[in-house]
Symmetry: C2
């Protein structure tokens, strides 16, 4: 029933426009009552983004299941990948929704609030992990924002290309960029010398990001 409502809603949104479609139109096409609609969706906006609540719950559970062994920045990057997976599961639906959302201000506002909830979940986890460290909340908030921005940069490029291309590879590349700037290396596997050193030589006027890039390569994280 839930899927039938989503399908009916999208058919009408695309045919008539979002604002022009009422909940009554949707339930009429789906052949169910108004009550059934509101059992699944608190509002008309929610039927456009039917999977975000589940994804937010999955993300929260994933972060809560972390241990102290998990490198925090890697963990929030992996948490962000859950969002990508939700979009990539239904490429055609995701692309349709992207086009619809771009045209309808109330949906853009809804999307911003969802993105903000993801970002807050990531930041909340990092704040806990960084507790007691210098600039803990600042670092947590900046990293969470960077992860979300990198994820969305890659996701939107994929949506703009009509879901063609490898979304996961693009998001991996984008998140590596953030991990390189903020993440720690995992502890070296047993047998590898912890005294291993890396030397970087840079001219003073070299942009810091270039030095970091070289550093990544040297550390095998490029």
């Amino acid at each position: 029933m839930r899927d039938a409502l989503i399908a009916a809603a999208f058919r009408l949104f695309l045919e008539r426009g979002y604002e022009e479609t009422t909940v009554d139109d949707i339930v009429a096409l789906a052949g169910v009552g108004r009550r059934s609609f509101f059992r699944y969706f608190p509002s008309k906006e929610d039927v456009v983004f039917p999977d975000h609540e589940r994804c937010l719950a999955d993300m929260t559970a994933f972060l809560e299941a972390s241990t102290d062994e998990d490198e925090p920045v890697r963990r929030v990057c992996d948490a962000a990948r859950l969002v990508l997976r939700m979009y990539a599961e239904k490429p055609e639906f995701s692309v349709q929704r992207y086009r619809l959302t771009k045209r309808v201000p109330v949906l853009r506002a809804y999307e911003l609030s969802v993105v903000w909830r993801y970002q807050r979940a990531l930041a909340g986890y990092l704040r806990e992990r960084f507790a007691g460290q210098r600039d803990a909340t600042l670092r947590a908030d900046v990293i969470a924002a960077a992860v979300v921005a990198a994820h969305n940069n890659a996701l939107r490029a994929w949506l703009r290309s009509d879901g063609k291309g490898d979304a996961e590879a693009a998001v991996d590349h984008a998140l590596r960029h953030v991990q390189a700037a903020f993440g720690a290396t995992p502890a070296p596997p047993a047998g590898e010398l912890p005294e291993d050193v890396v030397v970087v030589v840079a001219r003073r006027e070299t942009p810091l990001w270039r030095v970091v890039q070289e550093l990544e390569t040297a550390l095998g994280r490029g």
Copy 2:
């Protein structure tokens, strides 16, 4: 007249609540007609954030006035400082609004959309400056998000402290954090040897951010 409307609106919002106050109540208290209200403010939300449009225009003008000599990350940090200045000009008003916004979902949504417009302005500028470079839009989006997150981390701490303490110093500290991660050094002044080198030696398991911190210190940007 504009200031009188803002003052009347805030008096009522704080006394009765935001949802409970109508535009009619506001114009009655201010002693003007409805038309006057809507000449200044498109909606009731806008009277809560009366200075963002001007600040967005100032930010856009500031970024448009940039030259190729301006280091891009420093420039967006300076652009973000315009927002802080707007809040710091009227500390009492800013703190009242912060408390009000926290309680009213529609105002939080409005604030998210404003923050997003600032972030897009910064990202748009960086995308142009980085055009032709590797990962240009990715880097632009991530840096813009990091700048906004750092700025808001410091701004909100100041608002939570009821506007006590030095907001500018807090924002400077937060933005330095972002500049250190992403910014380039300015070209060395004439007379300084461009061949100047810096050597960093790090153990392989050292977190990358620690290496970057040392690097900053070595490069005199700590």
